[in-house]
Amino acid sequence: MGGGTLEKLDSIRRGELSAAENVRRSLELIQRLDGKIRAFIELNPNALAEAEALDRRMERGERVGRLAGLAIGIKSNINVLGLRATCASRTLESYVSTYDAEVIRRIRREDGIIIGMTNMDEFACGSSGETSAFGPTDNPAAPGYIPGGSSSGSAAAVAAGFCDIALGSDTGGSIRNPASHCGVVGLKPTYGLVPRQGLIDLGMSLDQIGPLAGDVAGAALMLEVIAGKHAGECVMLDVDRVSCLDTLGDGVKGMRIGVSRKFAELTDPAIVGVIDRAVEKLRDLGAEIVEVDLPNLEHGLPAYYLIVSVEFFSATRKFDGRKYGRKIEDVCGEEVLRRIIRGRYISQKEYRGKYYQRALQVRTLIRRELLAALEKVDVLVGPTVPKLPHRLGERISVAEMYAYDYLTVPANLAGICAGVVRAGEVNGIPVGIQVQGKVLGEREVLRTMRALEAAP
């Protein structure tokens, strides 16, 4: 790829690179390579025309937006008017979006060019990128291995250079997990910071839309574009906008960075090794490394799966095939059906206290622990996934698949922000380090990620 996102933006603005040329390159690459990678489900037929129109505006000297000319990939669970938000499922295979999600409106306002809809695990129910009804996605950074999920196509598209920035969604790690496996940058913003209007639900109280990019600056830029309150939505924080680009290069000197033994306990030693070396780098850069306690961290996983199943069951009642698409239970894949069945079962009147409400109590416990740990430090760092990605097509059990999420679900349960940046590799497979921050602590998280990215 070469050159950072901001540098490319600059060269587009200076006229050295036209928006049309940027988009053309993306489309060419996609044409050449995506047959094998399958990062995209559908391309925007107007992308080139939109880029050309933007170029004409720039030639006329008009003011353009902050994403001007950048090629953007959108996960297929986000509504983009005129394109199909399939959620990689036969259920919505024919659903042409009838409106733009709020984040899409903001991207268009800033003149980002939407290249197409990226592949994903069906209805975001997965951590591998293998459950799409339109075929699994390959990992461009480690061909033959899973790219992770559920924002598999978005991560792969960025890793392969098909687009400059992509949007994904993260409910239990669905941005961070594929970012780690594919060696790109991913960020799950604080819950309620980015509007979800137009995001097709997996778990309403857990979902957040976030950026994936080739560099931390690209992710920070996209966050600034999509974050901020929206009157058309209820459950949002009272924040008008964020700025994190200005402090991006501030470094970690004097920051208190938390680590926990618990992370290592749950993680493959090879990965731990990579993370430990990254932590050393942070220490060398002047951060104070602080040990924190997270005694109940692993209990977040089963609680998460109960909560998300109930919410997903509720969210999917509208897919009855009457107004659009098909009835979900008739055509969906196994994991989707598994969550619907589980959700239907545990939300029954007589079981509510035992399962759903109890899981929400465990959520309180995890949340308290995490927030208490974050009181002592500025950010927490650790591995993103407890084990290396498996090979595409390798059959693993349901429990083994869920186990990828151990280290990522706590941030969703607590509603805090968390980002991933490449820390190293094991046998050629990328390993990302996860940086978790306080509520609205994106500046500290991105700053830490940038410091690691820039370190030799």
Binding site: L337, I341, Y345, Q357, V362, A399
Partner: protein, 84 residues
């Protein structure tokens, strides 16, 4: 049918794992919302102007599996109404 049973069985595993894990954890209040900015309401007033809706209506109808000439969605007829 075997497939469904298999899925049901595998769906239950993590529920059992949860009950097992939770048995050793304290009882606390439930967290339904990440942030408690309760009591957000929206004032009533003039509705959205019709221009935006006309476009949406067109797209809504074009996604319908079946519609009638007036723009109603066509769905199933109710059985209890049929029988009379």
């Amino acid at each position: 049918m075997g497939r469904i049973e298999e899925i049901e069985r595998s769906a239950e595993e993590i529920v059992r794992a949860f009950v097992e894990a939770a048995s050793r954890l304290p009882e606390l209040e439930e967290t339904y919302y990440s942030h408690s900015l309760y009591n957000v309401v929206r004032p009533d007033g003039e509705p959205e102007p019709p221009e935006g809706r006309a476009e949406f209506r067109r797209r809504f109808i074009s996604n319908m599996p079946s519609s009638d000439e007036r723009g109603n969605l066509r769905v199933e007829v109710a059985r209890w109404a049929e029988e009379r």
